[in-house]
């Protein structure tokens, strides 16, 4: 199977004045093409930190990360940006659409960064898939939270990413909208064969992924389905 992301003995320590925090310790795991994985854990346990490291947005204190066959530590910021642009997608808890751009422009943004011409047609197709084709000329401020997140999903898939990172994509949404967004995410994930790494508090969402990681006090552990179910019952 094709290796997409390998995390090997990664640690992250934040140094602040007079004090240092070990947010992640000796973390290792590997994701293969087409897999989907969820990371769960209490707030402040280091989930976002780990995601940032995997996506090459931040550098680890020690250990190595290989994303899509490339050693992130060996790359310049520019090279990492180019890699993200071509092969990585992102979804955020607070949507992060550009307020000065319309829905359509937000979706075409990654392709435009790449300098691709036929961005618009692809974007309209995707907006159609997320059910917002008729809202494409609206600005983010004119859209509800769920709609904004759907635009963000369309934007994440526009460059047909090999891996998608999602940080609590439903964290700011109500239950019903959450379900729609979750369905959308997995449908597109299946259709495009994208590898998915998502952070969530939502166990329903976590159950839909093939693999589950639990993080606690900077320690990452993979759980089998069985364990997960026991944990759920215990909760």
């Amino acid at each position: 199977m094709n290796e997409i992301l390998r995390v090997a003995q990664v640690a992250k320590r934040y140094e602040s004045v007079g004090r240092s925090v070990d947010v992640l310790r000796d973390t290792s795991f590997t994701l293969y093409a087409g897999e989907s994985a969820a990371i769960v854990g209490p707030s402040g346990s280091g989930k976002t930190t780990l995601l940032g490291l995997c996506a090459g947005l931040d550098t680890p204190t020690s250990g190595s990360l290989t994303l899509l066959g490339a050693d992130l530590a060996a790359m310049s910021e520019g090279e990492r940006a180019a890699l993200r642009n071509r092969k990585v997608g992102f979804i955020f808890q607070s949507f992060h659409l550009m307020p000065s751009l319309t829905a359509l422009e937000n979706v075409t943004l990654p392709l435009e960064l790449l300098g691709r011409g036929n961005a618009e047609q692809a974007a309209i197709t995707l907006l159609d898939q997320v059910g917002l084709a008729d809202r494409r000329h609206h600005y983010p401020a004119q859209l509800s939270g769920g709609e904004q997140q759907r635009v963000a999903i369309a934007r994440a898939f526009i460059n047909q990413p090999e891996i998608l990172f999602a940080d609590e994509p439903t964290g700011n949404l109500d239950l019903e909208t959450s379900e729609r967004i979750t369905d959308l995410l997995f449908t597109l994930n299946r259709e495009q064969g994208t590898t998915l790494l998502l952070i969530t508090h939502d166990l329903e969402l976590a159950k839909k992924t093939g693999r589950l990681f639990r993080i606690n006090h900077g320690q990452l552990m993979e759980e089998t389905n069985q364990q997960a179910q026991i944990a759920e019952v215990a909760l």
Partner: protein, 847 residues
């Protein structure tokens, strides 16, 4: 805690100040920048107000010195017997003065310069002192053939006190250097340097021949009991009949005072406009601030804060910011005041030092505070309407229109109007000034809007990605792009119009600079001197052109109505009183053409009514038309004429042109003088030629136009500084506002940049988007200003200067090219660190 305590004002204010202070954490820098943009406007108000008061005081202290006498009566010809008789009853001391132009010759350096001679009778000036070096020279120069010479002139010819100066046939000793004359602005000496001699030696110069232009005057010093103004009032009619004009101290002071009042009124209105525009920027910022705080305000209301309490919180913030602006503004204004006198010294007749003008400072600070506070308050009233419910809703409804907000903006306009009327002291002038400024801002604003729309359209039509985003982020809501375009555009406009007007003025003389066109003029050549002067000119390599006779004459009557009666009509006095230096020719020249009637070129010597031709503007001024009769006094002999043609004259051409042209055949016998012009190649050649001509013909006057245009340009240069000062102020306010708008959007920008980087944008792309934004702002602002400048210049050229409105497009290009690099630099400096924001930033959701 009782109900009374909870709602008391004291408690509210104490609580609110604490919250206001805490709430301003991290935003103080922003507030400071906004305050600064208001402070600049207040500073200018303070500086200009104080400056105006300084000038008024300087004039008030120097009232009598301006004129040097209580009354001066002028005549363009020797005082007639009746005139003398009319003036006899005037009591007190009297001094006679004769003024005329001539070539002053400095034998030591062998140079000759056209100068204005003032031959002064004993005791003049009665008030004020001519400042000289050595200091006692002014008191003693009249005791012999001695002259006081303008410092500028001495410097120009390299002469020293103690050397000689020759005027006509008389040699004088340079007795002193004139440093300052009361009532004469320094700039005056650049255009025509002055030489003072005693009246007793005028005759010896031999320069006062028939036909030479001399201004005669009597200056009076009255005993305290005598009311000069009243005497003038009762004798006005007789004075006019005798073609006498006059100045009294009061008139003089009034005139200068009015001019200065208008100047300072215009300047302070412009300052207030800058303050207003800066204030609008601040209003935008406060609006945005409140918008961002809406949720927080909702929470406060949920927690039990009353509307009043919440309003007080933000009111305190705004009040603090405004007070800070006033304090800084006053301090900066007092500093600026020190530099202003130097800017107008050249054009102001009295020297003065800046002094602290408490009343003016208070007034300016008061106006400034009121205006700034209201402007900041207007968007704040929205706070009242924030409901506690917003904390439960995910989305905020846009606020509805609020009458209180409109009232605030209405009050701002009203204050501005009252200020304008007060400053100009008249509803009409104040209203006009205001209308002009509003029209200017209106055009600027309209242009800015159109450009904004155009930029967005164009950017949507397939501009490269980075450009498109540059445009989009330029028009983000809290950027205040339109206001910035208006303020910066106004600065550009002022500079461009100034430059345009200047090139138009200078452009009128552009012929002088062209090769082959005449640039040297000699005049006042007597008939018997003509041949020898022409010969000298040819010998020196300057071929005389346009040799033209000149016959001086005056208007005695129009259609039988005497000059005395005419002076009571609304025909301008200068047009009636002036000496018309006319000529006669058989054929019209290239630079004039008949637009009405028919030109008669030749008449018999015994014709009764001479057909003459008038230039169209003077005909309009005199309110005459074809067929009207003028009785002209040619050296004492009345001549009956009829206007048979009206001409359009190209004054800018170097050909000699005249208001009145006679046909050949009638004036040949009249006393006359000649002029000619020619083309010289260098300053040395001019100097040589002048020297050679003056040597045997001391009454002949000559001038080098190339040199004169240069001097003129130099004076314009100095006159321009006040406008440049205002333009600089606009630009500075604009840039400060730009800086603060940037600060306002900084957090959002940081988030966007991080997001773009997360999505895979290269630093270069992110940087390019920002730089595009700032470059565009500079370009659009320049364009905004230039559009108005083009309109203004077109109007100036067409209606005022009557020349091609755009002699040098470069004048518009240069200010346009200075702004964009400035904004670009500001964008670069302020974003450098933003481009390095780690991409992880966006994941933390802090946006």
């Amino acid at each position: 805690m009782t109900e009374g305590e909870r709602t008391g004002w004291v408690h509210d204010i104490r609580w609110a100040s604490r919250l206001a202070w805490r709430d301003s954490r991290g935003a103080k820098g922003k507030g400071f920048l906004y305050a600064l943009s208001m402070a600049l406007g207040i500073a200018t108000l303070v500086a200009l107000g104080s400056f105006g008061a300084d000038m008024r005081q300087a004039l008030a202290g120097q009232t009598k010195n301006l004129l040097g006498a209580d009354l001066v009566v002028y005549s363009r010809q020797p005082f007639s017997e009746t005139a003398q008789k009319l003036l006899t009853p005037l009591p007190g001391r009297r001094a006679e003065t004769k003024r005329f132009g001539t070539m002053a010759h400095f034998p030591k350096t062998d140079q000759a310069v056209l100068s204005r001679i003032r031959a002064m009778g004993d005791g003049f000036p009665f008030y004020g002192e001519i400042l000289t070096e050595p200091a006692d020279a002014a008191a003693t120069y009249q005791q012999g053939p001695r002259a006081l010479v303008d410092a500028v002139l001495l410097e120009r010819v390299g002469a020293q006190v103690g050397e000689e100066i020759r005027l006509g046939q008389q040699t004088f000793t340079i007795h002193g250097k004139i440093l300052e004359t009361p009532g004469v602005p320094p700039a005056a000496s650049v255009m025509g340097p002055r030489v003072y001699i005693s009246l007793d030696y005028v005759a010896a110069t031999g320069l006062l021949q028939q036909g030479s232009r001399v201004f005669y005057s009597y200056a009076y010093q009255f005993p305290d009991s005598f009311d000069g103004d009243a005497w003038v009032e009762t004798n006005k009619k007789d004075l006019r009949t005798e073609r006498l004009s006059w100045s009294t101290v009061n008139e003089q002071r009034q005139q200068i005072g009015d001019d200065m009042d208008n100047l300072t009124a215009f300047l302070s209105l412009t300052a207030l406009l800058t303050l207003l525009l800066g204030g609008l920027g601040v209003a935008g910022a406060v609006h945005y601030h409140v918008q961002q705080k809406t949720r927080q305000i909702g929470v406060l209301r949920c927690l039990g804060a009353t509307v009043r309490q919440v309003v007080i919180v933000y009111m305190i913030q705004v009040m603090t910011m405004t007070l800070f602006a006033v304090v800084v503004g006053v301090a900066v204004g007092l500093g600026l005041q020190l530099f202003l006198p130097a800017l107008i010294r050249e054009f102001f007749p009295v020297a003065f030092e800046p002094s602290f003008q408490g009343y003016e400072v208070l007034l300016a600070a008061g106006w400034g505070f009121l205006l700034s506070f209201l402007l900041a308050l207007a968007p704040l009233v929205a706070v009242r309407r924030v409901s506690p419910l917003v904390s439960f809703r995910a989305f905020l409804n846009p606020p509805k229109a609020d009458w209180l907000q409109y009232a605030c903006y209405g009050a701002v306009i009203l204050i501005w109007l009252v200020f304008a009327v007060m400053r100009t002291g008249s509803f009409q002038i104040g209203g006009l000034f205001l209308l002009g400024l509003i029209a200017a801002v209106g055009i600027l604003y309209l242009t800015a809007r159109l450009l904004a729309v155009a930029a967005r359209r164009v950017s949507k039509m397939g501009l490269p990605f980075t450009w498109r985003h540059g445009v989009a982020s330029l028009f983000r809501p809290q950027n205040q792009t339109l206001i910035l375009m208006v303020i910066l555009g106004m600065g550009i406009f002022l500079i461009a119009v100034l430059g345009g007007a200047r090139t138009m003025l200078i452009g009128q003389f552009s012929d002088v600079r062209q090769r082959e066109k005449p640039n040297f003029i000699a005049w006042d050549i007597q008939v018997d001197q003509l041949d020898s002067v022409l010969a000298i000119s040819r010998e020196m390599g300057v071929e005389p052109q346009n040799i033209t006779p000149i016959v001086p004459m005056r208007i005695e009557a129009i259609n039988g109505k005497s000059i005395g009666d005419l002076l009571a009509t609304d025909i301008p006095h200068w047009a009636l009183r002036r000496e018309y230096r006319s000529s006669y020719r058989a054929e019209l020249g290239d630079s004039e053409k008949v637009i009405e009637g028919e030109f008669t070129g030749q008449v018999a010597a015994d014709i009764e009514v001479v057909p003459i031709s008038l230039e169209q503007d003077i005909a309009a001024d005199l309110q005459v038309a074809l067929g009207d009769r003028l009785t002209l006094d040619v050296m004492g002999i009345p001549l009956e004429t009829e206007i048979t043609s009206i001409r359009d004259v190209e004054w800018q051409s170097m050909a000699p042109n005249f208001f009145i042209i006679f046909p050949a055949g009638i004036l040949e016998a009249a006393p006359q003088m000649f002029m000619f012009n020619g083309r010289t190649q260098s300053a040395e050649q001019v100097a040589d030629l002048q020297r050679a001509i003056i040597k045997n013909n001391p009454n002949v006057m000559c001038v080098d136009l190339t040199q004169m245009v240069k001097t003129f340009d130099g004076i314009l240069d100095k006159a321009a500084t006040m406008v440049q000062f205002l333009a600089g102020l606009c630009m500075l306010t604009g840039l400060v506002l730009l800086g603060s708008a940037l600060w306002n959007s900084r957090y959002q920008r940081m988030g966007e940049h991080a997001l773009l980087r997360t999505l895979g944008a290269q630093t270069r792309q992110v940087a390019w988007i920002t730089l595009t934004e700032y470059l565009l702002l500079g370009l659009l602002a320049s364009l905004t200003g230039v559009v108005l400048a083009v309109i203004a210049n077109w109007a100036l050229g067409l209606f005022l200067f009557k020349v091609d409105p755009f002699p040098q497009p470069l004048v518009f290009l240069v200010p346009c090219l200075t702004l964009p690099p400035l904004t670009l630099l500001l964008g670069y400096l302020s974003h450098r660190d933003l481009w390095r924001t780690p991409a992880i930033f966006v994941l933390r959701g802090e946006n």
